[in-house]
């Protein structure tokens, strides 16, 4: 008994200590609520001409796994844009613009595109880029031994199947027609072809890459920045330096770009405020709001383009969502504004399949909306009438709702649960880790209900419709169409939209596709997520980009000589790299 009392005392003491510890740390970190440090001003007026010099310092909590243009990794594509130049590129509105190619010609049948390259373009290793390099790079990217996650995007190239599965010696879809001219032959006209040519796998790589992918190749392209030996420490940092032979004279302005990986969000904020990082992209919700609401920072805190779409995914092969009326009821029952309020800094309510800043989005097509009366009517039509006054009726069995643990979906799940309770649908939330979530929700007949999101692979509305709702995207496992939604009419519309080259006619087809998925509601579209991007004022020519985060080529630094501000250990920390010493810097204007 005495022992039990002693143990109990110790237990309560530990609880008390835990509380005290939390309180102490909370007070210690109360600085989180102290005013933000002031922005570090630029040295000159807004009209000043760009200057060369400076290193852009960025950070990310994630890590870049590979820098080869063919591995198609999302986090690497921002860096890939700096290392590799494409025949074409995308501008800030996601329009296709010339890059290595000065111009291109399309045959009247839409089956052949001929690109005319700039002459005397130099790779990072000094070699000249020619049409042979374009063909070799494409064949390397699409070879069956290459771990290219985006290879199927180019399946419309003539001879793709033979080359990727039957060991054909070359890819006939890419033809060298001159030293600086290369033709791409397609099986069918393709409205997205030019956009796909701007993606990383289609960008030429140095001759040192050879004809086949190997893990140990050091990234080398014709982009504005190059990777020097030792410039990439796996899991830690990546430094790219200016390519002096870049084909656009005078560009880039920056000497180098440095990205530190694996940095937690609190540290990122501390370093950004201290001027060690120049741009802050990953923030805690509270910090994002503070930057957005602080009048000093407001002009420099911008929301990135909306290229992600989220919704509640309903498996149309499993009850009750095999009934279209139930799906419509769900789409009408969700209060999307609550989703926005959960993360007001960068989540906005959204009611369409396609995000607002993706070409092809049309706000004039009516979206799903909150209407409880209509939702109850859909439930009645489905055969599950519900009386909100008595709580009787509705769909009696509880539906398992699988969500990724520690994701935003875990919070929105609570909103969803309450929203659906009003129309007689009861859900049980099951949180699992990310690989499990992916495996379960994209497998046939496994999960009836889950939150899903899609971020653009390339800036075109059809990427969303194709990936999420086309029948061809259904698979027993790894199905990107995780609603397992089949609609021959939609398939036909999408097929036409793929091959329609007239912009107006194509937009009409995309609008029709949107109307179909709105009506059939394989997803209840809920919100769109946007990163809050904060920069220091001395970062000039700062332009957000819908595919590459921001445009670095023309960015320049208007900053001044650093004066170290150090603490008691300052003399110990003095080094040529202040960011390594982790100290604050204050800049005096020249």
């Amino acid at each position: 008994m005495r022992w039990i009392r002693g143990k109990a005392k110790l237990f309560y003491a530990r609880i008390a200590c835990s509380g005290l510890a939390m309180a102490l740390m909370a007070s210690a970190t109360a600085g989180c609520r102290e005013p933000l440090a002031a922005p570090i001003p630029s040295a000159q007026s807004d009209e000043a001409s760009p200057r060369r010099g400076g290193t852009l310092h960025l950070a990310s909590f994630g890590d870049v796994r590979g820098l080869d243009s063919v591995t198609g990794e999302a986090l690497a594509s921002q860096m890939g844009e700096l290392i590799y130049a494409g025949l074409v590129d995308l501008d800030a509105k996601a329009n296709v613009i010339p890059d290595l190619a000065t111009h291109w010609e399309r045959t009247s049948d839409g089956l052949t595109y001929t690109f005319f390259l700039r002459s005397n373009v130099r790779f990072h290793d000094g070699e000249e880029l020619t049409a042979d390099d374009v063909k070799r790079s494409m064949e390397r990217a699409l070879h069956p031994t290459t771990p290219n996650a985006l290879g199927s995007f180019y399946e419309n190239l003539a001879g793709f199947d033979e080359y990727t599965t039957k060991n054909a010696p070359e890819l006939p879809g890419v033809e060298v027609v001159g030293r600086y001219a290369v033709a791409f032959h397609l099986k069918k006209p393709d409205a997205t072809f030019l956009t796909l040519m701007a993606l990383m796998p289609a960008r030429p790589v140095c001759k040192s890459a050879g004809h086949r992918y190997v893990d140990t190749w050091s990234p080398c392209g014709a982009g504005p920045f190059k990777l020097l030996p030792g410039g990439w420490e796996h899991g830690r940092s990546l430094t790219l330096v200016r390519h002096e032979g870049y084909f656009r004279p005078g560009l880039p302005y920056l000497d180098a770009v440095n990205v530190t990986y694996g940095m937690n969000l609190v540290t990122q904020r501390f370093k950004f405020e201290a001027g060690v990082l120049d741009v802050l992209r990953e923030t805690l919700q509270a910090d994002a709001l503070r930057f957005q609401n602080d009048p000093r920072w407001k002009p420099y805190a911008t929301l990135e383009p909306s290229i992600q779409s989220f919704g509640e995914n309903m498996n149309t092969e499993m009850p009750p969502f095999d009934n279209v009326e139930v799906r419509r009821a769900v789409a009408c029952a969700i209060d999307r504004e609550q989703y926005h309020l959960l993360r007001a800094s960068n989540v906005s309510a959204h009611t369409h399949a396609v995000p607002a800043d993706v070409p092809g989005y049309n706000p004039n097509v009516p979206g799903q909306k909150l209407d409880l009366a209509e939702a109850l009517e859909h439930m009645r039509k489905a055969g599950f009438p519900y009386d909100p006054a008595t709580g009787r009726g509705g769909y009696e069995p509880h539906i398992e709702y699988v969500v990724q643990r520690q994701s935003f979906g875990e919070y929105t799940a609570q909103v969803l649960k309450q929203s659906l309770a009003k129309i007689g649908i009861r859900i049980d939330i099951r949180a699992v880790n990310f690989p499990t979530y992916l495996a379960l929700t994209h497998r046939r007949h496994r999960v009836a209900f889950s939150p899903q999101g899609w971020s653009q692979d390339y800036p075109d509305a059809i990427d969303f419709y194709d990936s999420l709702f086309a029948s061809k995207s259904i698979n027993d496992e790894d199905s990107s169409n995780s609603a397992f939604y089949k609609n021959p009419t939609l398939d036909d519309v999408l097929e036409q939209a793929h091959h329609e080259l007239d912009p107006a006619a194509r937009q009409a087809l995309l609008d029709r596709a949107e109307s179909i998925v709105q009506g059939d509601a394989p997803w209840a579209f809920t919100h769109s997520y946007r990163f809050v991007n904060v920069r220091q004022p001395y970062v000039r020519n700062y332009r957000l980009h819908p595919s590459w985060t921001f445009e670095v080529r023309e960015m320049w630094f208007d900053r001044i000589k650093d004066v170290m501000v150090t603490g008691a250990l300052g003399p110990l920390l003095r080094s040529r790299t202040p960011e390594r010493a982790g100290m604050a810097t204050r800049r005096s204007l020249r």
Partner: protein
């Protein structure tokens, strides 16, 4: 010697069991490594191609056999088995080579990745252990000597606070005070010069060490209180030994017996990395690597980190056993393993 050989055979068996179990668990868990490599946007045809490239389309037994046969082999075997010989990296150990394959995600040999991370983890582990030992033993002795006084109460209270405080809270607090506000130390990272490394080490070592020190304090205090009531201590005091001499010379050695065991076990566990601390301070060690590998379903890296960690724990257990025997003659006598 016979006892040592016996322990080592057991150690090898334990390691084999751990590796096999990890392999099985890793393969039955939901989540497709090929899908994780390809990313959510990849289409099934691309995922299938990547699956074949990684050898994940083979039967499970064949994958296991391939892994085990490559794990420890002679250079000749390596030449037969490793597909891209020019890039195969093995840790040579006499005539034996250890080949853990390539990371699915990084596409680099696992041995290379571990070789990069291990020294940094070891550095952090040793520094944290130093903090734990110095703080823990000193505070423990002081509390035992001042038993029942306010000083004792204060030390016990502080140690209870240290044990109760979540590591991430302590870490963020230290970062905020010493790096962000006072600017005495780096916020995170790992420097390029020895001096920078040393400064970068301070905060993570303190974060990791304070928790352990709190635990050691209580352990040493309790052990010391028991020992200070023993007859031989009273005899030493009666013979005129000072109180400090009685404590530091006579009692401390015996108090160290359980401490040494705990330290050896701690060291083994610390080699496995301190996930929270390493992540918080961007310390490039084994802990953060293993968690990321687990989330990415990066099988070869998971197996590599498990093998490394379990080897460290098994070896530290063996070392702890022998230190125990060396420090306590009574155990030596009872085991009949008297050294010459």
């Amino acid at each position: 010697m016979k006892r040592l050989a016996e322990r080592l055979v057991w150690a090898v068996l334990v390691l084999w069991a751990v590796i096999t179990l990890t392999f099985v668990i890793n393969n039955v868990l939901p989540g497709d490594p090929a899908r994780m490599v390809a990313g959510p946007a990849a289409r099934p045809a691309d995922i299938e191609r990547i699956r074949q490239q990684l050898g994940l389309d083979r039967p499970l037994l064949a994958q296991y056999a391939r892994f085990m046969s490559r794990l420890v082999h002679t250079p000749r075997a390596a030449a037969d088995d490793v597909p891209d010989k020019e890039h195969a990296s093995c840790a040579a150990w006499g005539q034996l080579h250890i080949d853990l394959g390539k990371s699915y995600q990084q596409r680099r040999p696992v041995t290379t990745i571990l070789a990069e991370k291990l020294p940094r983890t070891a550095m952090l582990a040793m520094a944290a252990l130093l903090v734990q030992l110095v703080l823990g033993v000193l505070m423990g002795i002081l509390a035992a000597m001042k038993r029942g006084t306010r000083a004792d109460l204060g030390i016990v209270g502080v140690s209870l606070l240290g044990v109760s405080m979540p590591t991430f809270m302590l870490g963020i607090g230290l970062q905020y005070v010493f790096a962000h506000r006072l600017k005495w130390l780096p916020l995170d990272g790992f420097g390029k010069t020895p001096r920078e490394n040393l400064l970068s080490l301070v905060l993570p070592a303190l974060t990791l060490g304070i928790f352990g020190a709190a635990y050691y304090t209580r352990l040493v205090r309790d052990e010391m209180i028991g020992l200070l009531q023993q007859d031989y201590i009273r005899t030493a005091l009666a013979k005129g030994a000072s109180r400090y001499r009685a404590v530091l010379v006579h009692a401390l050695r015996n108090a160290l017996v359980p401490i040494v065991t705990v330290v050896a076990l701690d060291l083994g566990a610390l080699v496995g990395g301190a996930v929270v601390t390493e992540t918080l301070f961007r310390w490039p060690g084994i802990g953060a690597l293993s968690v990321n590998a687990l989330l990415d379903r990066d099988g070869p890296v998971i197996l590599g980190t498990v093998l490394l960690t379990s080897t460290a724990i098994v070896l530290s257990n063996v070392v702890a056993d022998f230190l125990y025997v060396l420090l306590d003659p009574r155990i030596r006598a009872s085991s009949g393993d008297t050294p010459r």
